[in-house]
């Protein structure tokens, strides 16, 4: 193997490594990134902002999509306990489910997503929002 072939091989390996690294970085959510939270059903975005503060998620929430690095979209559903549930099951708590997705606005790739379902939510939407915030914080801190 001559020197020319060796340099070509080295270059190829380098390109592949850089590509892999770029893909890995693309999936990360760096701390202190700017995030835009899109409006959701039943104003769940407000609960999410409050949960981010309560759980100390290291992200900056911005209200202008153009200034953001990431966008959070999702949905939330809430069902109050029916009379039957109150009488038969003896539970007054609502049933909550929510799902959120974080998308990198530059690449358009979904970098993180999470869904939560609480059949007897003690604090309604607050519980599901805080669950989302906790898991997002874990994702940021894991640096994966």
């Amino acid at each position: 193997m001559n020197g020319k072939n060796l340099s070509l091989l080295f270059l190829l390996v380098l390109v592949a490594t850089v590509n892999c690294l770029a893909q890995e970085t693309e999936k990360q959510i760096p701390a202190n990134s700017k995030i835009f939270i899109n409006s959701m059903k039943d104003e769940f975005e407000k609960f999410l902002i409050a949960a981010f503060t309560a759980k100390k998620v290291p992200l900056e929430v911005v209200f202008d999509r153009d200034k953001a690095d990431f966008e959070l979209t999702g949905t939330s559903e809430s069902k109050k306990a029916s009379t039957a549930k109150k009488i038969i099951m003896g539970s007054w708590h609502s049933s909550e489910q929510a799902s959120v997705t974080v998308v990198n606005l530059r690449s358009g790739v979904a970098v993180w997503a999470y869904s939560v379902n609480k059949s007897n939510s003690n604090h309604g939407k607050k519980t599901t929002a805080e669950s989302c915030a906790k898991h997002l914080k874990e994702k940021i801190e894991s640096k994966k």
Binding site: I88, A110, N117
Partner: protein, 167 residues
């Protein structure tokens, strides 16, 4: 005594007639020459494409009344080897579908002691360039422990199996 027996007989006859009326199909009108029903093509559906879905493909999930978000979360949780993108133009494949939730009725709670919902979902994955359907899946969970999360994770599990060639 005879009055009571007659009354009971009458009641039974009423129930019987009511039951018969519910099970008897409505009389079909005689086809007229002016109104001819359209001929329905009953040919078997064409087979789904067996093309390999390569790992790392970019997938766009169309809006399914919020269910798309549950699907994305399920793909992350089940580690499905695809990349979800937010624009159709960037994608190799597109997922469309429908999802339905039926909450537990009081009868279900009383007789079965279950407050879990009934979840239905159906998703179809097609190649954006060719328009060929490459995969489809239906799920029905009559007692879904975690609502939409359960049905979406079932979809994700089966898509992963399809990509890995286990199905």
């Amino acid at each position: 005594m005879y009055h009571r027996i007659t009354f009971l007989f009458l009641l039974l006859a009423m129930f019987g007639m009511s039951g018969y009326a519910q099970t008897t199909p409505p009389a079909t009108p005689t086809p007229s020459t002016a109104q001819t029903a359209p001929i329905v093509d009953k040919a078997a559906p064409s087979e789904l494409s067996k093309d390999k879905i390569s790992p790392g493909s970019k997938v766009y999930i169309a809006a399914i009344n919020g269910y798309e978000s549950f699907l994305t979360a399920a793909f992350v949780k089940k580690e499905v080897p695809i990349i979800v993108v937010n624009a159709r133009e960037k994608a190799d494949y597109q997922i469309t579908g429908v999802s339905e939730t039926v909450q537990a009725s009081w009868a279900k709670m009383l007789f079965l002691g279950s407050e879990q919902s009934n979840e239905l979902a159906s998703i179809v994955m097609s190649n954006v360039k060719t328009g060929v359907v490459v995969w489809g899946y239906n799920v029905n969970k009559s007692n879904s422990w975690r609502g939409k999360q359960s049905s979406s994770e079932s979809c994700a599990k089966h898509l992963k199996a399809r990509i890995e060639g286990r199905k």
